[in-house]
């Protein structure tokens, strides 16, 4: 069950919310746990025991590390890392073994729990029930965001005294909460279904043609297409997760903050998949010394973080090349900024608007030979072996131009900020309702595409 299943949207979510808010405040956390485990079981029944075992393990580690016990922390983190690495190796090496869904995300949530506990950021009186609810939390278990326990603890629905009042007096609050959550959920659904899924169809078509047979303009259009597809797929997913989170009383978790408006790759990755970026910053980069140990150490720390980021996505040449290219651009920007900040800003923009899409091509294509074939079409320094259809660019821009156009419009920060500001106004509500219906029609028409990021 994923967020774009009709079963999730129209059966699970409403049923869950009704039970959740009908239950007495004390019992609500149990509804959350049962609902989350049910949600996960619908997607992947086999690995429920792994999830429950790791939850218990990390809760105990969290208790043990709470007094600053480094050894205990190391033990806990090692178990998480080994589980993740083992699952990934098995999935890569054993045919027929599917990666336990969401394991990359929930093990990272567990690592952050252990670290936060070690640093004294998690209340000592935290119960296993609370930790379990945090680890299994259904809006976030499959593809993040990697929310911290501190944010989870803000969940007011079962802690606030007002929540013990009779339903009649709190129904208005609940409705406002759900309505607010829906503004994000629908926006995310539309981004995913109306933009990302259609752009994915074009990207798949390009693969079907064979990269060596793309015309040069189509190869560039392909780089744009994949970049936009990945962005709206994952941003859309993150907004849907945030929306469901708001409905159950969590704060808004921002995972993307207009990354393409950044003026450097460094900033881009502080605004792209932010919960992963801050995870690596807080639990890897800063413990290693961050940028305080001089040039050489900074480069070493950045390289280590980006190596880990690459590996986290998968052991695949494309991910490593992607990570290495990003690291290279970040280092170039740092070096330039120390000499001339104006040039650094120009180079940074070029990096974001031109370099980043090229790194996404590496990320998407994966294998060295095919990356080479694609780049030889982007930069046709040698004639291609393939057969090129001269009308391909015109054909695909006429078919997909509208999706590409909208994907570019929503890159403009002002469009998004307008949405945030006016999302409860009448005209935007009408537009959102229309987008919701269009998304549902598109889903019914096209069948379901699972989230691209689900495989990670």
């Amino acid at each position: 069950m994923s967020f774009t299943d009709f079963d999730f949207i129209f059966r699970f979510l409403p049923a869950f919310l009704i039970l959740y808010y009908l239950a007495p405040a004390m019992a609500r956390i149990y509804v959350l746990i049962v609902g989350s485990v049910f949600f996960y079981a619908m997607a992947d029944l086999r690995f429920i025991p792994v999830l429950l075992f790791l939850s218990l393990w990390n809760y105990l580690i969290g208790k043990g590390a709470a007094n600053g016990e480094k050894t205990v922390l190391a033990l806990g983190v090692a178990a998480d890392v080994i589980s993740l690495a083992a699952a990934r190796s098995l999935a890569a090496g054993l045919p027929g073994f599917a990666l336990p869904l969401g394991i990359s995300f929930y093990t990272f949530r567990m690592i952050s729990y252990c670290f936060d506990s070690y640093r004294g950021k998690i209340p000592k009186e935290t119960t296993f029930t609370q930790a379990l609810a945090y680890f299994c939390l259904f809006p976030q278990i499959l593809s993040g965001p990697i929310m911290r326990y501190g944010d989870f603890a803000k969940i007011s629905a079962f802690t606030a005294p007002s929540e013990t009042k009779p339903l009649k007096t709190r129904i208005a609050d609940i409705l406002v909460r759900v309505e607010n959550g829906l503004t994000w959920f629908i926006f995310g659904l539309a981004a995913k279904v109306l933009l990302a899924d259609h752009l994915r169809s074009l990207w798949n078509t390009l693969g079907g043609i064979g990269y060596e047979s793309l015309s040069v303009p189509l190869a560039w259009l392909g780089a744009l297409t994949y970049s936009m597809e990945l962005y709206y797929d994952f941003w859309g997913y993150s907004m849907m997760a945030a929306g469901v989170g708001i409905m159950i009383g969590l704060p808004m978790i921002v995972n993307f903050d207009q990354p393409y408006a950044s003026d450097s790759v460094g900033t881009f990755y502080r605004r792209w998949h932010m919960t992963l970026g801050t995870f690596f910053r807080d639990y890897v980069y800063i413990p290693l010394g961050g940028s305080r140990g001089g040039w050489l150490k900074t480069v070493r720390n950045l390289a280590f973080v980006w190596l880990l980021t690459g590996i986290w996505h998968g052991v695949n040449f494309g991910y490593l090349l992607w990570a290495a290219s990003v690291l290279y651009m970040i280092l170039v920007e740092r070096a330039l900024r120390e000499r001339n900040s104006r040039i650094a800003a120009v180079v940074g923009r070029i990096h974001v608007l031109l370099g980043i899409p090229l790194t996404w091509v590496m990320f998407a294509v994966g294998d060295l030979e095919r990356i080479g074939a694609y780049f030889l079409r982007l930069f046709p320094i040698v004639p291609t072996q393939g057969v090129v259809f001269a009308g391909d660019f015109a054909k695909y821009t006429s078919q997909y131009g509208i999706y590409l156009l909208f994907s570019l419009v929503f890159l403009l920060p002002c469009v998004y900020h307008c949405y945030v500001r006016f999302r409860r106004s009448v005209p935007v509500t009408v537009i959102l309702s229309g987008l919701f219906v269009l998304s549902l029609i598109s889903m019914a028409r096209a069948g379901n595409n699972p989230f691209l990021y689900l495989q990670f």
Binding site: F10, D197, S201, L202, G208, G386, V387, F389, V426
Partner: protein, 338 residues
């Protein structure tokens, strides 16, 4: 807006609609037009709709079960060496044994679908159609063989037109992504100066072809039986035959998918394709100038699957692989004389 929750209301209405209807949309429904169809239209939703439609069609045709091939140039069966001027009058009064039945069906054919706008089509009226004498043989041909050839097909034939420039320079293409046998003639997708036309209209009014190649069927593997598929195909050929009495009709076997696709897909697999192709091969009738060729012979591996390296998505050829299909067609032209 504080007290009033419009999105919740929209959500509840949609949920109610979903529970009641399951969002079963009509087959032809398209949100934004062209690109929508490129989601390869091979998903289960379409299959279900198709099954339903097939069942209805089966009920309807119970009264008149067999739809025979309409045979306009009937005189050729008796006198194959004669050059025949076939016009609609002739074809409506065939001398074949099943004359009555044929006539009935054909009248239905011609009056039903285009009764309103199109006049009853008189193909080749006042034109002499050259029909080469029997027998025909299958053998190698030169590229200019395709100068009077038309290709009808789905996404795979679209690809053939785009990525085989040598063939595209000679032949014509009426091909569309996600096309099925049942829509092939009646779906308006051929771009003309006067807007989109159906293949039926084009065949009726545009020009007479010497050869008509057809490859269809991958999009309807999920529904119907080999027999119903063959009969749908037979009906389509019959309608083409009326409009293009002089053409050699060359049915191509449905191209296989790769072994990995075949192993994991309950509908789109080679076992099913082979069943359909065996049914298609039965349509071949050299006397009626209907032939069957199978390009899989040049595209398969030893196990009878599409060679994995020729495809990226396991269903469609890569651009660079279309040459192999063309190579097969060059080696398997239908030639008059022995």
């Amino acid at each position: 807006m504080k007290r009033f929750c419009p999105l919740i209301i929209v959500f509840i209405l949609s949920a109610a609609f979903y529970v009641l209807t399951g969002f079963a949309l009509p087959e032809e429904f398209s949100l934004f037009g062209a690109a929508e169809d490129d989601l390869y239209a091979m998903d289960d939703d379409d299959d279900e709709l198709y099954v339903a439609e097939t069942q209805i069609a089966a009920l309807e045709t119970d009264a008149e079960p067999e739809i025979p091939v309409v045979r306009p140039g009937v005189s050729q069966t008796d006198a194959p060496e004669a050059d025949t001027a076939a016009d609609a009058e002739d074809s409506a009064v065939p001398e074949a044994p099943e004359a009555d039945e044929t006539q009935e069906t054909q009248e239905a054919e011609e009056t039903e679908p285009e009764a309103e706008e199109l006049p009853v089509v008189h193909p080749g009226e006042n034109t002499v159609i050259e029909v080469a004498p029997l027998p025909y043989t299958i053998g190698p041909v030169e590229p200019d063989y395709f100068a009077d050839a038309l290709f009808i097909g789905d996404s795979r034939t679209v690809g053939l037109g785009e990525y085989c420039p040598e063939l595209d320079a000679n032949a014509s293409f009426y091909a569309k992504v996600s096309l099925t046998v049942r829509q092939a003639l009646d779906k308006p997708f051929v771009e003309t100066a006067e807007g989109k036309k159906t293949v039926y209209e084009m065949l009726a009014n545009d020009r007479q072809y010497g050869k008509i190649y057809i490859m269809l069927g991958i999009n309807e593997l999920g529904g119907g039986t080999n027999e119903s598929f063959r009969e749908d195909f037979r009906e389509m050929i019959g309608r083409i035959r009326v409009l293009q009495p002089g053409a050699i009709i060359i049915v191509q076997g449905i191209m296989h998918v790769t072994g990995s696709k075949s192993a994991r897909d309950p509908n789109i697999n080679n076992e099913r394709i082979n069943g359909r192709n065996a049914a298609l091969a039965e349509l071949a009738d050299p006397k009626m100038r209907i032939f069957y060729v199978d390009p899989n012979e040049n595209l398969d591996d030893e196990e009878g699957n599409l060679r994995a390296e020729l495809s990226f998505d396991d269903v469609h050829l890569k651009a660079a692989s279309y040459g192999l299909w063309y190579e097969y067609l060059l080696g398997h032209g239908v030639i008059a004389g022995s």
